[in-house]
């Protein structure tokens, strides 16, 4: 029966969603060759599109579809606000959505997602922090500090305290314009040990302390960045001498000739995950499909397409990932141990409050 291409049938309600627009559907069917699945088994996956979804598609969805015989239809979407609309309308058409861990956590708390069945999905070899009740980790990335090697040579900053030290490392900084990943480095720079960061941040005084620390650095912050493309470009152009940002973007910029380096020391380890929205039409198949793509053999494919790491530790052990590549990944055991895992619960509880304080600071 070969490959079959079809387009997902969108419900009329999907028009309300600003993202259901370009539903490019690619379906993979292995027909009767697949084991344990009938031809009727199918799932619809919604992700962010672009090179990120392409990597997911090549590394996870296509091979898993082939192995299980489940028909996969891919769509793009705009985030949990779309899921909320569809759930509220009672017209869910997606079985699996890709999401940031923080959004997934909040969407779960709001009742927009189905709890995952970890009897079906085997997460025994996962990093323990890279899964939650409503969402299973799909890839790992880090929020790191990067510096211009033309400005500082080999003697770049070693930790967040150095990032804050404008005497020792004079030069322009860029920092995130949103609160996510912005407060933790400030506390570490202020001397809070990594394991205490979220504890301190869980009080108003703690947040105030972080905000004040950033206020200290504010005169040296030339740019408040708003996207990964932007902070990568800032380093490439030498517009700033030091910035925070996502490791994968810096790798691309360095490959592209940027005079930059970054460190995993005290970086924030975060992950993207997969969730099943409430009312998913093929919930059980979706669960099976998530179990499949969470296996180490698929997770090990990811770094071939994007420099985000697998969430399944075992992926490093099955010899599929080249060692040189592995050492660059955020979730490599050597790197992971240096980092502070992002606390999803803290974000669920405090992000809105912290964001208001942070915006006050930025607009001051």
């Amino acid at each position: 029966m070969g490959r079959e291409k079809r387009y997902s049938g969108q419900s009329r309600r999907a028009i309300l969603s600003r993202t259901g627009i370009a539903a490019v559907a690619v379906a993979f069917a292995a027909g009767g060759l697949a084991s344990g699945a009938t031809a009727a088994d199918k799932v619809t996956v919604a992700s962010w599109g672009g090179s990120y979804q392409k990597a997911q598609s090549e590394a996870l969805f296509k091979p898993a579809a082939k192995a299980t015989g489940i028909n996969v239809t891919e769509e793009t979407y705009g985030g949990m606000s779309d899921v909320r609309l569809k759930v509220k309308a009672g017209a869910m058409t997606w079985d699996i959505v890709a999401s940031g861990s923080g959004s997934a956590s909040r969407a779960g708390a709001e009742g927009l997602l189905e709890p995952l069945d970890y009897d079906v999905i085997d997460v025994s070899t996962f990093y323990p922090t890279l899964k939650m009740k409503y969402c299973v980790g799909g890839d790992v990335f880090s929020t790191v500090y990067a510096w211009n090697t033309a400005t500082y040579g080999d003697k770049g900053p070693q930790n967040w305290a150095d990032f804050w030290d404008v005497e020792k490392f004079p030069g322009k900084r860029a920092y995130r314009g949103k609160v996510a990943g912005a407060l933790e480095p400030a506390l570490m720079a202020d001397g809070v040990p990594p394991e205490k960061v979220y504890e301190v941040l869980s009080t108003e005084e703690g947040m105030e302390r972080a905000i004040n620390k950033i206020r200290e650095l504010k005169p040296h912050i030339a740019v408040w960045w708003s996207s990964g493309a932007q902070h990568a470009q800032l380093m490439k152009d030498g517009e700033v001498d030091m910035t925070t940002g996502w490791n994968g973007r810096f790798d691309v910029a360095i490959d592209d000739g940027a005079k930059a380096a970054y460190s995993f020391n005290q970086a924030l380890l975060d992950y993207d995950c997969f969730a099943i929205p409430k009312g998913a039409p093929n919930k059980d198949t979706a669960m099976k499909f998530l179990a499949e793509i969470s296996k180490a053999e698929y997770q090990a494919n990811l770094p071939n397409y994007i420099t985000y790491g697998p969430t399944n530790k075992k992926a490093y052990e099955i010899g599929k990932i080249d060692d040189a590549v592995a050492r660059k990944l955020p979730s490599h055991p050597d790197n992971a141990s240096l980092q502070l895992p992002v606390d999803i619960d803290w974000y669920a509880k405090f992000e809105q409050k912290a964001s208001a304080m942070y915006q006050d600071l930025v607009t001051e």
Binding site: M80, V223, W224, S226, E239, V362
Partner: protein, 306 residues
Amino acid sequence: MSDLVLRSAGSLATQPNQTELKQDALRERFALFGLCSPALLLVLIIMVLPVGWLFWLSFLGEDGNFTLENYQRMVESKSYARIFRNTFEVSLLTTGICILIGYPLAYFLSQLPRRAANLCMITVLLPFWTSLLVRTYAWLVLLQRRGLINEWGMDIGLWDEPIKLVHNLTGTLIGMVHIMLPFLILPVYGSMKAIDRDYMKAAANLGASPAQAFWRVFFPLSLPGLFAGALIVFVLCLGFFVTPAVLGGGKVIMVSMRIATNIELFFNWGAASALGVVLLVLTLVILGIASRVLRFDQLLGGGHGS
């Protein structure tokens, strides 16, 4: 009275084809309305409904119930007031600079022979043919710390340290003025071209020096175009997103950018819709005051004597 009754009674009974002609007139009016209705429907669908929808959403909380929290938040958090002030400041400044640059430019164009003016007009309009994003990033390349302008400036020795031209208000204004300028020049040029040259001759003949003729006759006559252009620029600026986001370096935060942030942060359209509603209301209020103070109607008609 009796005359009136007689006439109306007579007309009902005897005037040939009166009823039929009246019916024809009515039918014609209905037909005309019918022809308009697709356009009216379109306006309803693409203008009225979304604004109403926006308004309604702004009163919904995360749980989907009626709430004022979206508006309360704007009062409680200092950043919102700053962002609104920022938005209006940037829009006013952009409009002001566009006037200062665009008006003399439009005047120059209006005085050129037609062919030269057309040629220059094409260069004014040329930016319209390139993507806004491309133009904005082009400015980034020119203005940044190691951008062309700073490199040249330091090569020639005009300045020693890189000047901060971008990732701040300066860069945002440069980018926005560049994009907005044609919107100002076009209506101003149009209204200038419509000014009969004889007015200037008449003014000169009556004893006005060129400067007096310009300020007392030409300038007031060009004001309707200037106001139209300034209004277009100002309103377009209020909703600007890309240019301040790219050239402002996160330091120039406009309402539109905060709307995008809020959609992500609050999972809920209400928080963003409320911003849209407040921006809309503030804009209408400002325009209302402006039209009162500037008395648009008088600018379009004659002034008053002595």
